[in-house]
Structure formats: structure tokens, C-alpha cells
């Protein structure tokens, strides 16, 4: 079937996206959009030719780097990232900004590179590329706010890269036979290996672990309408892919994941910016995946990977529907939106499909993947975690399932009557919505692509369908009643403090302390050196000859060298000559002789 050798592959799977990204640096206008759609399609075709077990090795400075390693997991993510790039490309077809277009494709290529990386060294290169290429989706907004948010975003992602590099250095120094191998580091982590800890922290930044998560809720809402679609698809899912490879069964992940699933939902309920609500809901969904990886059974990891696959589609769909609203109205605050279903009915419908999928309604995609993680948590006796995840399931329906569509498209009439989203956006949303329903109705299609095939899991069991519908319907009942009783927190023009408070306030304190200290030191040094020593020296060099001349002239005056002149007249003459640099030749010659004589004496002294 494949024309590529089984052991060695001819070209890197990210090549079509890379080439697309490079070409669109130069191509302008409509044609750039064509590349955004064509490059992912070509990439999908290359992925379909890959065979599990093949790899590609390059030699660099005497070090063998496994640039590509193909297995079922990398193929799954390869398909996923190309599909996401295709949907994102279609959605951004109207874009004219070459930075966003080319960097968007390169960003997708980096995610594919992470998925196929064969060792820690190649992983590091793609990991850094992921950081640098992604920030342009935020800067593309071209506001002061987005510029600053982009820098804060970049700060975290550069930090993640440095942590990874430090972890790799520790691994190398450990003297293991194969320190760069991309294999489970869970045992090393539990034994307290510094390299494994640093690598986990590096992945933790990109996975938005608690306290390391603010780049996500800070940066994504400041991105362009199309940028958020790209951002939501790649960074965190690439990190989940690496986490599943390196730390399956690490117990600490169960706790971290449960916290991630829990805390964002509280923020999501009171947040006004609807894309920030989606950002919080994203951390909540990643929490489920992290728990699945932490449980570490074949089935639970399959569940996490399947949920990552579905999350790209339904979260992308939700970000696309909100992006369409932002594109048409220029507004994203729930307090200023509402009643848009009148003129944007299709976008409303797609948004509801995304909301149903993320809430895990039966027949929608979230149902078939989230349930695997829940079932595995219960089967392995994680009672508290299971209750947390169930709480989070009800909560996610509450804020992402109801709040997003309700406050944007229904609720009070904002009076806004925007046009329906452009055709290319509708097509992209339609495709994502189709995928959500298709996977929800045909889970075996997705399960077949998983590394262990979901080990014969069946989501459509009568008990599961009934209990899941029940929890969702009663969550909706709570929303309805609290709204009718005026207990539901209204959308207010406000922001909420997150842990960014610590580092943004800390950063300001640091910069003002540094400014006071170093600028103060600078002023003191200026006063001492420039105003003090240099001033004295300059005064000496300016007035020194004059004073010297006066001193020398006094005995000569007494001896009658200046006939017919009073002392004052001689001094005034000398002063004028010294300041203007005009001395009688005789005097200059005298100084010259004295000077040379001085050297002669000095040379004689040194010679002694």
C-alpha cells in the first residue's frame, strides 16, 4: 500500500504544513486562503500513508536524533491536528494578515511535530516552535491589550521551553543508557529524579496545570476571532499527547487533574468575557484528560486521548461560534450581548451542538470519551475524584453548555442585529458540528484509532444514558430555577482576579523596586563621577595651564622678564594667552624642553 519503506519514512509528516506556512509568507490576498485549506488536506493524505513502527533518524553533531517515530498515538494526533488545521483554515479563509496565516500553518506544523517527535531532543525543537508561532494569533489583534497579553503568554511558554531543556540536561547527566528516549518517566518521577520533575513541570505549563494556567485565560480571550480557534486546538492537546507518553500512571496527576476540573467552573460562572469562559472550561476539560492519564490503565489513557480528540472539535466549534459573534459585533462581553439568535440562527445552532457535545449529551461526542475516564476513576476506587469529576460534569454543562449559548444568543435583547456569519465560517462550523455528532453516534470510528482500541468499552449502556441525561437535565433545572428566582449571578462589566494577580502585581513591584534602586544608583554615580571627579578634572585641564603660567611668571616678573608691565597686566596677559591657547613661542618651547627633560630624568631613574 505505502510507497514508503516501513522502517524509514521519506519526509516529515509536518512537511506539507511547514511548506504551506513558508509559502504564505510571500503569497498575498485570496490565494493565501487557498493554501490554508490545501496544506492541511495534503498533510492528511501524507498521514494516511504512514505505517506504525516506521521512524526517521537524522545525525547532527555526532548525535542521532529520532526526528519522527510513527505509532498509533502519533497517527491519531496527526489526523487530529490536520483536521483542526483544515477547519481553522476554512474558518480563516477571509483573512488577509500574512502573519496570522503563515504563523497559523507553522503553528499547526509544530503541533504535528510534537505528536511525531521520536525523542526528547526533537520534541524540544518542536516545543519551542509551538511557543513562538502561536503568539502571533494573539498579537494579530493589534491592540495594546493583546500586545501585552501576548508578551505574558510568551513569558510562560519560553519558561516551559527552558524547563524542558533543563529537564533534558538532567536526564543526559544522569548517565542513563538512552537518556533522550521518549518513554514513561513515571518511575523516575516517583523516585524523585530532578530531570523527570522538570519535564513534568514543562508539560504542566503547556497543559495549564493550576497556578500555571493563567496564560490560557489571559491570552486566548485577547486573540483574534480566528486565532482562538487555532490556539484552542494545538498547544494544550500537544501537551496532553506528550504527557500521555511520558507520565502514564503518575498518581500526582489524578489530584492535579481533579483540581483542574473543579476550580475553573467557579470562575466560568462569574466571568463576563464569553471566550474567557471557554478558556476556563478548557482547563476543566483538560483536567479530565489529566486524571485519565494519572489513572494510567490502557483504557483510561485511551479515554484521555479520545477526549483530547473530541475536545479539539467541540471546543473549536464553541470558539468558532463566539469568534463569529466577535467578528460581526466586535463585542464578546456577555453583559453587552444577547438575543442574537434572531439574525444569526445558523451560528446559534452550531453553538448549541458544540455546547451539547462538551456537556456530554448522549449522541454527542463528549459522551463517548468523558464517560471512559469517569468509569475508570470509579472502577479503580477513586471516590473523591469521581465525585469531583461528576461535579465538574454538571458544572461544565452549566457554564459552557447553557451559559455560552444563553447569554450570547438568547437572554435579554441587546438590540444588536448583526449579519449571519460569513459562508466560510459557517462551513467550518458545520464541518466541526458534523464531526461532533458523527463521533457521538459512531464512537467505534474513533475507538478504532486509539492505541488500545478503547478495549471494548461500550458507552451506550441503558444505565449510563439515563444517568447522564438525568444529571444534565437537573443541572439545567437548577439554572432555570435560579434564573427565574433571580439568584443567578448577572453578567456584569467586570474582571475577576486569578493567580495572575500574584505575578502581575509582583512584576510591577519588581519593576518599580528595580527602577528605584538602579536609577537611584545611577543618579548617585552620575553625581559622583560626572559632576564630581570629571568636573574637577575638566576644570583642572581648562584652568591648569593658566595657573601654572601665573606661578611660573611670578619669579620671572620679579627678575624683570616683562619690562614695562605691572604684575596685574602680566597676569591678565598670561590668562588670555592660556585660555585661548596662544603663548609666545619661547614660553611654549620652554615648557617643551622641561617636559622632555622630565622624561629624560624619568628614563634615567627607571634605567637605574
Amino acid at each position: 500500500m505505502s510507497f514508503l519503506a516501513a522502517s524509514e519514512i521519506a519526509a516529515h509528516p509536518a512537511l506539507p504544513l511547514l511548506l504551506g506556512g513558508l509559502v504564505t509568507i510571500f503569497v498575498r490576498g485570496r490565494y493565501a486562503g487557498v493554501f490554508m485549506v490545501a496544506a492541511p488536506l495534503l498533510g492528511l493524505w501524507t498521514i494516511s500513508l504512514l505505517e506504525a513502527g516506521s521512524s526517521s533518524v537524522v545525525s547532527c553533531f555526532g548525535q542521532e536524533i529520532i526526528s519522527v517515530n510513527v505509532d498509533k498515538q502519533s497517527i491519531l494526533f496527526g489526523y487530529l491536528f490536520h483536521l483542526a488545521a483544515f477547519i481553522g483554515g476554512l474558518y480563516s479563509f477571509h483573512l488577509k494578515d500574512p502573519w496570522q496565516i503563515s504563523m497559523g500553518l507553522l503553528y499547526a506544523a509544530s503541533a504535528v511535530g510534537v505528536a511525531f517527535a521520536g525523542d526528547l531532543l526533537s520534541l524540544f525543537l518542536w516545543w519551542e516552535a509551538l511557543a513562538v508561532t502561536s503568539v502571533f494569533q494573539i498579537w494579530g489583534r493589534k491592540t495594546e491589550r493583546s500586545e501585552q497579553a501576548g508578551f505574558r503568554y510568551l513569558f510562560f511558554h519560553v519558561l516551559s521551553g527552558l524547563l524542558l531543556l533543563a529537564g533534558i540536561a538532567f536526564r543526559y547527566a544522569s548517565g542513563d543508557a538512552d537518556p533522550f528516549a521518549l518513554v514513561s518517566l513515571t518511575d523516575l518521577l516517583t523516585s524523585g529524579d530532578a530531570g523527570a520533575q522538570l519535564i513534568l513541570l514543562a508539560i504542566g505549563v503547556k497543559c495549564a496545570f493550576p497556578f500555571l494556567h493563567v496564560w490560557l485565560t489571559d491570552g486566548y480571550p485577547e486573540s483574534t476571532p480566528t486565532g482562538a480557534v487555532f490556539l484552542s486546538a494545538f498547544t494544550t492537546k500537544a501537551a496532553i499527547c506528550v504527557l500521555a507518553r511520558l507520565f502514564p500512571g503518575a498518581e500526582i496527576l489524578i489530584t492535579i487533574g481533579a483540581v483542574m476540573a473543579m476550580f475553573p467552573i467557579f470562575y466560568a460562572v462569574i466571568e463576563n468575557d464569553l471566550r474567557r469562559v471557554l478558556g476556563y472550561s478548557m482547563i476543566n476539560q483538560i483536567g479530565f484528560m489529566v486524571v485519565g492519564i494519572g489513572i494510567g490503565t490502557e483504557l483510561s489513557i485511551d479515554g484521555s486521548l479520545a477526549h483530547a480528540f473530541n475536545d479539539v472539535l467541540f471546543k473549536g466549534l464553541l470558539f468558532m461560534s463566539m469568534g463569529a459573534v466577535l467578528h460581526r459585533t466586535g463585542e464578546m462581553r456577555g453583559s453587552e450581548l444577547g438575543g442574537l439568535y434572531r439574525t444569526m440562527p445558523l451560528t446559534t445552532g452550531f453553538c448549541i451542538v458544540g455546547a451539547a457535545s462538551i456537556s456530554a449529551f448522549p449522541l454527542f461526542s463528549g459522551f463517548v470519551s468523558k464517560s471512559i475516564i469517569m468509569a475508570e476513576a470509579a472502577a479503580h476506587g477513586h471516590h473523591v475524584v469521581w465525585l469531583c469529576l461528576l461535579f465538574a460534569s454538571a458544572g461544565v454543562f452549566h457554564h459552557a453548555g447553557i451559559k455560552i449559548p444563553f447569554f450570547a444568543f438568547f437572554a435579554h435583547d441587546s438590540g444588536l442585529r448583526p449579519k449571519e456569519a460569513p459562508v466560510n465560517m459557517l462551513l467550518a462550523m458545520g464541518l466541526a458540528a458534523f464531526m461532533c455528532i458523527f463521533i457521538g453516534c459512531n464512537p467505534d470510528w474513533l475507538y478504532a484509532m486509539l492505541p488500545c482500541g478503547a478495549a471494548g468499552y461500550h458507552p451506550y449502556d441503558a444505565t449510563h444514558v439515563i444517568t447522564q441525561t438525568e444529571i444534565l437535565v437537573f443541572s439545567a433545572l437548577a439554572f432555570t430555577l435560579l434564573n427565574l428566582w433571580k439568584q443567578y449571578p448577572p453578567e456584569l462589566k467586570s474582571i475577576n482576579l486569578d493567580v495572575d494577580f500574584l505575578y502581575r502585581k509582583g512584576g510591577r513591584l519588581f519593576s518599580s523596586t528595580m527602577a528605584t534602586f538602579w536609577n537611584g544608583l545611577n543618579e548617585k554615580a552620575h553625581a559622583f563621577f560626572v559632576g564630581g571627579i570629571a568636573g574637577k578634572f575638566s576644570a583642572f585641564t581648562a584652568e591648569g595651564p593658566c595657573i601654572m603660567a601665573k606661578l611660573l611668571s611670578q619669579p620671572l616678573q620679579r627678575l624683570g622678564f616683562y619690562p614695562g608691565k605691572s604684575d596685574e597686566e602680566t597676569e591678565a596677559d598670561l590668562e588670555q594667552q592660556a585660555t585661548t591657547g596662544i603663548h609666545p613661542i619661547g614660553l611654549t618651547a620652554l615648557f617643551g624642553i622641561l617636559f622632555l627633560l622630565g622624561f629624560l630624568v624619568l628614563a634615567w631613574l627607571v634605567g637605574q
Binding site: 458544572g395 442585529r417 449502556d461 438525568e470 437535565v473 435560579l482 467586570s494 474582571i495
Partner: protein, 103 residues
Amino acid sequence: MAKKPPKDEPKRWLDDPVNVRTFIRGFYWLCGLIILIDVVHSIGWHKHAAFHDGSLLGSSETLPSFYGIYGFLACSVLVFLAKALRAFNGQRVLMRDEDYWEK
């Protein structure tokens, strides 16, 4: 804040409060129906338990309407806690003005 909608706009089904009330009433019936199905399913068929360790949670999880009650309580707790996070006893906790970081 809210702009005036155009005058010649056609009236939608949801614009009429009577229809909204009908919709909500239908939703209440749906809630009742789900509980009924759960009860019937629990009595007439074997319900698959999530836990197999004989724990208290494991035995209560299979009771009819456990998920409904848990979902309702979870969302109520969520909303009231979140409100407290905004402001508690009139004191702002996490909520700040929109231009807080630009000040």
C-alpha cells in the same frame, strides 16, 4: 445600553413570554419523565454500578434519581459559591472593574 431593535422586525416564537412559559413547562415535564424512566429502569432491570467495591458511594450511586439530585445540588452550590467569590458580605473578593489592569 441596549439598542432599540428595528420596528418592522417580524416577531419570533420566543419573543412571546407565553411561549417561553410553555417551553419551560415542557422542560419541567421532561425532568419528571427522566426521573420516571430512572425509577422504572431501576425496578425492572439490573442497573450497572460504577463502583464494584461495596462502598457507601457505590451503593447509593445506583439509587434512582441519585444523579438528578447530585446534579441539581452541584449546580446550586456552584452558583452560590461563585457569587460569594465575586463579593461576600458586600466586600469584593475577586471581582474588579473592567479597566483594573489598565489603571
